[in-house]
Symmetry: C2
Subunit: 357 residues, 2 copies
């Protein structure tokens, strides 16, 4: 499985689409706003760029992609008015893997811009938009071409399934029953990937450039902690039920592993300092309930749909597409049951960085 | 009909796709190479940019889009080696209307880059790519952000069907039987559009920036000349045959007009000089046979397929989608017949420009 080729959120605007099942991600963008705001204000009022170049890495598509844009435009508009300056030109780069549905994103840009003008008037911008397909674990932009890098709920994805974890049997992610070698392999891949990410971004950012990165993580120092692994453990349970029912071969599940790592703040800090291109302005965690909807009744349904929008293309690359309805139905049942018994939250790790030199 | 919303080449990689039916356009890119080359060499060896920012406006998708990229990279590589410089970073912007199939374009980028490295080695670039959705009759890029603008077989498309041509009955483009007011309205729209194009590009180009623009045009000063109007006249004939057969209502054809204008070099010169932002380095015409394939036998088939890849989305926005096979079958018959009797060529107008100041 080539992660670059198969990882993407479900496209389009349909029932299983990411665009219609990404309330958790929306909530997280809103929760992180104070940190984004501080970083952008600091950046703007130290550089006053004529053209403000911003990249959203792992932008996906839908309302969340545009929420980030409008948040950033509003922050800058407020700040530049304070200084009595005219609005900068905004240059937004939407990055995601080539499998992302850029067509749908591009075709909804017109309506979004109209909407934005309705909300904040005509005096900002102009705004320019580009789509940049590719892995953020490679170079994506010319040297010193960006002021601000934003990424929300993307950087926990690894560039590949870690090598040497064939012995992670019965699991699809790190779990309490995973051999220690599996845990180490996961961390090693994360350290390589995140270090590369920092190195490449430091080449692309201008002097004084900033990044605000939010990712799924954990507070505990135990990488197999329930707070980060449980959601995948439940998916493994759903898959294993289909194994019991003879619908999936056991070896198939044994050979499947999620290319993700949910780091602790200490791990993030360690890698940033070791890599050396950035200083940390803020490093925080927050929590968000698995079910971001106000409708508590359909919790299991909402969570499984959200996870489906995120993970289905990965699963389809390995398992029979025909089984997906069944897998996610089982998953929903399991999630519902567990949500009725315990507190289920995702942990977000948020880090705000400034490029050194 | 909103041209911005409906005009795009047929997407994907299928039988009717633009990607598989654009040999004429390929031939024209190859024919224009000496002019592109001269402009790029002049640009590179006067600015020696560290990052070379290039936009292909109306890029569409498929082999032609990549042919332009590899042509430009090769030209610069040859030149920079002459000067003993290291390769610049290349920053390619692919622009087209939001209906263009950017997903297919983005998903074929990886293979293209591998191919390019195989052909010219590893020493160039790196190359960065972005997709920019939007009409080139609006601003698309930040101020002074581009070195080189390239556009092939796109600028004859107008931003809209000219106003006030309801009386162009029985025709779908300018024709000998069109009222003079129709011809004037077409030219007026072209002058507005091309002037806007020049104004916006002059804002986006850096000092010394250049453009090489190739478009369908004519040599004659008569805008209804056969050399530019015949291909659409034959499509009108096909549509009118379906009117005769009762499959399309006459009013439907009366109300349909192609949003295109095929200018003479003199008209291009007049508008460039009137707008005032650019000097003309070269202004030439060339000819290319309707059937660019080496296979002369299936001329009518090839030409109608090529025209279908270009015009089908426009037609579908106005006529019944179900009729398209029939329309293009008739069109093929008519084209075949006419190709057997006369010389059928497109006229290309090529202009190479440098931004003043």
């Amino acid at each position: 499985m080539e992660v670059v080729e198969v990882l993407h959120m479900n496209g389009g605007n349909g029932d299983s689409s990411y665009a219609n099942n990404s309330l958790v991600q929306q909530k997280v963008i809103l929760m992180t706003k104070p940190i984004t705001e501080q970083a952008m204000i600091d950046l703007y009022s130290s550089l006053f760029p004529e053209t403000l170049c911003i990249a959203d890495l792992g932008c996906s598509l839908g309302a969340n992609t545009f929420l980030v844009v409008s948040q950033l435009v509003k922050i800058v508009e407020k700040e530049r008015k304070k200084h009595g300056f005219k609005s900068p030109e905004f240059y937004f780069h939407f990055n995601d893997l080539p499998g992302n549905d850029f067509n749908t994103l591009f075709q909804s840009l017109g309506a979004f811009q109209e909407d934005l003008r309705k909300h904040i008037g005509e005096s900002f911008g102009p705004c320019f938009f580009s789509g940049v397909p590719g892995s953020f674990y490679t170079r994506l932009f010319p040297s010193k071409s960006l002021h601000f890098v934003y990424s929300s709920y993307s950087l926990m994805w690894l560039s590949q399934v870690p090598n040497g974890i064939e012995n992670n049997k019965g699991n699809i992610y790190m779990a309490r029953t995973s051999p220690l070698s599996v845990i180490k392999a996961y961390y090693k891949q994360y350290e390589i990937d995140f270090s590369n990410f920092l190195k490449y971004r430091s080449e692309e950012l201008m002097k004084g450039g900033k990044m605000v990165l939010t990712l799924l993580g954990r507070e505990s120092e135990d990488p197999t902690s329930k707070e980060c692994c449980y959601i995948w453990e439940l998916l493994a349970m759903a898959l294993n039920k289909l194994v019991e029912e003879g619908l999936i071969k056991e070896e198939k599940v044994d050979a499947f592993n999620i290319p993700q790592y949910t780091p602790s703040p200490a791990e993030v800090k360690y890698i940033v300092e070791k890599e050396g291109s950035f200083t940390i302005n803020r490093l925080e965690t927050s929590r968000v309930h698995w079910n971001a909807s106000n409708n508590e009744k359909n919790g299991g349904y909402n969570v499984s749909r959200c996870m489906r929008a995120v993970a289905e293309p990965l699963l389809v690359s390995h398992f029979d597409k025909e089984l997906m309805d069944l897998v996610f139905h089982k998953y929903e049942e399991i999630i519902s049951d567990c949500m009725s018994k315990e507190k289920t939250e995702f942990i977000n790790v948020i880090v705000s960085l400034t490029k050194i030199n």
